[in-house]
Amino acid sequence: MTRVLVPVAVLEGETVSPGLMSLLGTVDVTVLGHHVLPEQTPPDQARLQFEERATAALEDLSEEFRAAGGAADHRLVFTHDREQTVQRVADEVGANALAVSRPTGDVERVLVSLSGDVDADRILSFVETLVGDRDVGVTLFLAAGAEMPDEAATDDAATDDADPTDATDPGVADEQNGAADGSDGDEARLEAAADRLREAGIDATTERATEGSAFDALIDAAAGHDAVVMGERAPSFRSFFFGDESGRVAAASVGPVLVVRNRPEPAEGDADATPDGEE
């Protein structure tokens, strides 16, 4: 079952807009109420004082989510480190995506970004489930220069092996090839992705940006859409300084963002046994 984790800073008055709630009506939701404390404060101390208030707010939120359609439960965490908490709970509940909660009205059209080194297959199947048979349009977006991940990468493995220029390190190799054959290839892949969604009965269009940074292009494209779906990326030098990309997209586009997680659901039990060996 597809599950989305919605982190909410309940004690700071953060809430979830009705638009995002109805958008998530087709999937299961775990509302993660979190309260971030400065290091002076033991989390247990904050729990003692704020637990009841926070739990009441979370129960209301879960109730509203259930009313919007999907199954919903909630967790409440007191922490010093929001990022660590979100990742841990997302692993534990096996969440397919994280929501960055921002206000929005009724969602009529969603922008789905396939730029960068993301798992397109997971994004597309998430979008299929999310939209379901509702009347929500999808715009597939790919920024220039940003190589689109080959959703059929595993099928192509044999041919890739024969063609070293295209194989080992897609990030570097394709950036060099991009000018020559990349743009036709991108177009084709984007179209293939759109066809896949159309087969599932979704109104899908495509959009490519040819200039400027991938981030700015995405923000420009987000205008006219009510929410953004994007893939999860490894933390980078940039994210270290400016915060993670999804947060910046949410802030700049003034709308909710759904981040499809890369990791497959963890096996029961020890989740951190092999932090680096994902493949």
């Binding site: 404060t41 101390q45 003692l48 704020f50 637990e51 841990r88």
Partner: protein
């Protein structure tokens, strides 16, 4: 043996208790989870960061001034005692990874009276220690002023007190209003200090063994290699080891506590002991004890100057400022956790652990830490503050060792430590004897002040919390 604390205090509050599940990553209560966010590095930084300020930057002058190179032995004795206590503390902490540290173990192992006395003495002991660090900070700030050409002449002690008071107020205000996470900064400061010291000590050792030579001022006073003075200095400098148990006050926030708590506590003791012994060795090798005595709290600045010229003096001044600040700050953080642990068990009024929603900080507890710190810092009494802090901590350390023996004997159902001290009761018994024994070598005035504090805390128990029952509960 009951598993639940019971009874009510004078205000009619009962201890807060409920069943929780501890995992490596979080504590899971009925309705909420508490994330564990401090790793091994963070734990070591708390331990080392609390300890290193005093031992390296304040005591070499005082201790070396009294007995010369023999002070290395005093620091070694202190390190061994600290290790004897750190091992039993580790076992208790892995069995009860909760906020409150030593207080929690003693109240569960030895009952409410001992718990109240230790809980409140831990708070006040930390207050004395923090005041001591701040006075040390004042001396380094004064030296820094002198370095840039500002001399204050005769009233230097008043200036030191004034700087200590200002710093105490500033730290309290910053801790109440500061919501930025300073943990990374603390880790960075500790790493910087360790690398500065390693370079400095490496150079000093080369000099000591005659590989390189610098001019050392002449002096006649010989080293005092006698047991009683060595132990008496050990009692004084034991304040330099008061950080390892502070790691236990954040036990509830430590990731993988079964592994990281013992490593952080024992590791920080071993690291600082080596640093201390080497520092004293280098300092007393360059200066004889009368020269050290003359330069007092900031003798290390002169050592730095003799070794490396003005640059060496500057390195030590910057290091001293950073180290005393990090010690003071880490202690204030531990204090608010100590108060919270006691207040949660209804031994102090519940309002003592209130948090304000605006900053998310425990302003009452921080005020209860910062207020008395400022008053004590104003006295400027380095030795007295240090010894009273040591006295109160040594009582706690001794009782923690006793608590370990008691709790092992009683074996409550929940007692299942990840880390077990080897050798049966040998180490805890030695730790208790050494802790209580060291007190005998302290100054009479310090013992008197410490005993008065203990008497007041015991009085508080009989007045406020006589009916609260904590022994054997989880």
């Amino acid at each position: 043996m009951t598993d639940e604390p019971s009874g009510r205090n004078l205000d009619g509050d009962a201890p807060v208790a409920e069943a929780v599940v501890e995992t490596e990553e979080a504590t899971i209560t009925e309705d909420a989870e508490l994330e564990r966010t401090i790793g091994l590095t963070g734990g070591l930084a708390i331990g080392i960061g609390t300890m290193i300020g005093a031992g390296i930057f304040v005591f070499p002058g005082l201790a070396g001034g009294e007995i010369g190179t023999a002070a290395s032995a005093s620091f070694a004795v202190g390190g061994v005692i600290a290790l004897l206590v750190a091992l039993p503390t580790s076992e208790l902490a892995t069995a009860m990874p909760r906020s409150g540290g030593g207080y929690y173990f003693i109240s569960r192992g030895l009952g409410t009276l001992a718990g109240t006395v230790i809980g409140l003495s831990l708070w006040l002991g930390l207050v004395f220690a923090t005041a001591f660090y701040l006075v040390g900070l004042g001396y380094y700030a004064l030296d820094a002023l002198a370095q840039v050409g500002v001399t204050v002449g005769a009233s230097s002690e008043a200036i030191v007190s004034a700087i200590a008071v200002l710093a105490g107020v500033a730290f309290t205000v910053l801790n109440v209003t500061g919501t930025e996470n300073a943990a990374k900064l603390q880790n960075g400061i500790v790493a910087l200090l360790l690398s500065m010291l390693t370079a400095f000590l490496g150079f000093g050792l080369l000099e000591a063994f005659g590989v390189i030579a610098v001019d050392t001022p002449p002096g006649q006073a010989a080293d005092v290699w006698e047991a009683v003075p060595i132990l008496s200095v050990a009692a004084l400098v034991f304040t330099s080891y008061l950080g390892f148990a502070q790691v236990a006050t954040v036990a509830g926030e430590m990731k993988d506590p079964g592994r990281n708590l013992p490593l952080a506590m024992v590791g920080s003791v071993v690291i600082v002991t080596v640093m201390y012994v080497l520092t004293i060795f280098v300092a007393t090798n360059i200066f004889t004890r009368d020269t050290l005595l003359a330069s007092g709290e900031t003798a290390m600045v002169e050592v730095g100057r003799a070794l490396l010229g003005p640059a060496g003096a500057l390195v030590i001044i910057v290091g001293g400022l950073l180290a005393t600040m990090s010690s003071a700050n880490a202690s204030i953080l531990s204090t608010s956790r100590a108060i919270y642990g006691v207040s949660k068990d209804a031994l102090l009024p519940r309002w003592a652990s209130r948090i304000n929603l605006r900053y998310g900080t425990p302003h009452v507890a921080l005020g209860m830490a910062g207020g008395p710190v400022v008053v004590l810092a104003a006295t400027g009494q380095v030795q007295l503050l240090a010894e009273v802090a040591s006295f109160l901590h040594l009582i706690m350390y001794g009782l923690m060792c006793v608590a370990l023996v008691a709790i092992r004997r009683d074996r409550p159902e929940w007692y299942d430590p990840d880390f077990v001290v080897p050798g049966g009761p040998v180490i805890p018994v030695l730790g208790a004897l050494a802790s209580f024994g060291l007190i005998a070598f302290m100054d009479r005035l310090s013992i008197g002040v410490g005993a008065a504090v203990i008497a007041v805390t015991a009085g508080w128990y009989f007045y406020y919390a006589r009916d609260v029952e904590l022994k054997g509960a989880l």
